[in-house]
Amino acid sequence: MSGWLKDKGHLARMAGLFAFGITAFLVFRWVMVPPGFGLYGHYRAGALDDARARPLQYAGRAECEGCHTDIVEARQGSRHARIGCEACHGPLIKHAQAPTEIKPTRPDGRVLCVRCHETNPWKPKGFPQVKVADHSDNGPCTACHKAHAPKIS
């Protein structure tokens, strides 16, 4: 090696190695990062279309209330009045689209009620909580409580 590079050849090689590493990284990044990344935020813009393309599962409360007016009436003023229908009954858009062909299964109260009302010291004091085994002698909750208006009057 001659000229001004005479004693700098090893440094030029190291600089070349760094340049190669950075270029390889940039190429790798160009290949790996999906198009549209960062367009709206720190995510792939196409993810929104993907989410939109997924079939809907939930019908929404308004859809349920259009038909089940008796339940709307029963829930009025009850402590369960503000709970969404599908929070307990599950996603039901297929039932809403074909009410007679597709019938939802009735939730099992022994599983559903316990999910919220089993005693748990982390819940707020005012929240109705019971030790289910003692409280109902393992009988069905719906023997005493109506699911849509649970208070026993």
Partner: protein, 395 residues
């Protein structure tokens, strides 16, 4: 649930009962601290021309590299899915301090440490390339980038660039470890962590632990090689350890006094925690055994004339205690910050598993691994003078 609640005293919010950051996250600031500290010790010789510490210069650089290579592993183990860590570089999130660490790490590893070690060792690498044969020859050739120019002019150029890199390396080392403290210090929801002093305290404890680690590594390698200790070097390193420790201790006490004097709404809860659940690890191990005792021992060597043997023993004991104390400091910050409730009305406990992904066993292995890497590095790039075939002594 009953078993989980057994570890709780008083009122905890549900998400506070189980600790999210365990021993691996304790290990992470401890390891990066050793890197930063070791590098700063190395820079004493290079930038500030402290000739006495020269025997530890290369050892400090190799120690820093060995620990830096292991530093991200606790995080990878803690988070799982190591394949996703690459995303940090591909789609960098500039608003996240944790995400930007990837770049700080890469800068420090490649531009500061690897480059500085390469420049410093280049002459030795070329000589070893010339002397060796077979795969070793190929390896040293690759490390020399197949350039065997070790003319005085090229070596002088290496030295100038190496010096400049060390100057850049000092703020980089401060950034690397200051950043770790910054992560904790900026968690404003946690009064145990949230203090602007956190990066400074982390940094100085890092310097202390790095100096202690290199001092011990130097003593062990000298003993292993059956060579006489360079007492001038050891005395100087121990003196710097003493000074750095004094500053670190003063800063930690300043933080403590500030907390006591400020006595904000969290104070009583934190004070109770220090006197109960953190008493052993904070008061006994960190402050007493890990700070006051080694400080006293190092101070004694500065005040009283002692034999070489006595000084060596004191340095070794003080070094080990210092490392234990700094590890305890990391433990008390990371674990302590998760033991109390944000309601200030309850406390939980840390249950450490053994042979699990985040248990004690992987933590022990991760503490051993840097020493294995260091042994390989020392074999590959001896930090001391070695006999060469036909070339006499070099290095």
């Amino acid at each position: 649930m009953e078993s989980v609640l057994q570890s709780v005293q008083g009122f905890m919010y549900p998400n506070e009962v189980e600790l999210q950051w365990g021993i691996l996250i304790v290990l992470y600031p401890f390891t990066t601290g050793l890197v930063a500290g070791a590098f700063i010790l190395a820079s004493l010789e290079r930038v500030f021309n402290v000739e006495a510490v020269k025997p530890t210069y290369r050892l400090a650089l190799l120690t820093a590299l060995a620990f830096l290579l292991v530093a991200p592993l606790p995080l990878q183990l803690h988070l799982g899915h190591p394949e996703r860590s690459l995303e940090m570089y591909l789609t960098p999130h500039t608003e996240s301090a944790m995400a930007m660490f990837g770049f700080v790490y890469l800068w420090y590893l490649m531009v500061v440490l690897v480059l500085e070690i390469w420049l410093d060792y280049r002459k030795d690498i070329v000589l070893m390339w010339r002397d060796s044969s077979g795969p070793t020859r190929w390896l040293y050739g690759a490390m020399a980038l197949w350039s065997d120019n070790i003319s005085p002019a090229s070596l002088a150029l290496d030295d100038r660039i190496g010096r400049a890199l060390t100057v850049i390396g000092i703020p980089s080392a401060f950034l690397l470890h200051g950043y770790v403290g910054f992560i904790f210090g900026s968690v404003k929801a946690n009064p145990w962590w949230s203090t602007p002093l956190m990066p400074i305290v982390f940094l100085f404890s890092a310097i202390v632990s790095g100096i202690a680690a290199v001092m011990l590594v130097y003593m062990v390698t000298a003993w292993w090689r059956e060579r006489a200790f360079d007492m001038g070097c050891l005395d100087t390193v121990a003196r710097y350890l003493f000074y750095a420790f004094l500053i670190d201790f003063s800063l930690e006490m300043l933080d403590l006094i500030h907390r006591i004097y400020e006595a904000d709404e969290s104070f009583r809860a934190l004070d109770f925690m220090v006197h109960t659940r953190l008493y052993t690890s904070q008061v006994l191990v960190q402050i007493l055994a890990g700070t006051i005792v080694p400080l006293g021992m190092l101070g004694l060597t500065q005040l009283v004339q002692m034999s070489e043997k006595a000084r060596r023993r004191i340095y070794a004991m003080a070094g080990v205690l210092t490392l234990i104390g700094v590890f305890a400091m990391r433990w008390n910050v990371v674990i302590g910050g998760q033991l109390f409730s944000k309601s200030f009305l309850g406390y939980t406990s840390y249950k450490m598993n053994f042979a699990t992904r985040e248990g004690l066993l992987p933590a022990i292995l991760l503490l051993i691994l840097p020493f294995v890497i260091l042994a390989v590095l020392i074999r590959l790039l001896p930090p001391w003078k070695v006999q060469r075939r036909g070339a006499g002594v070099s290095g």
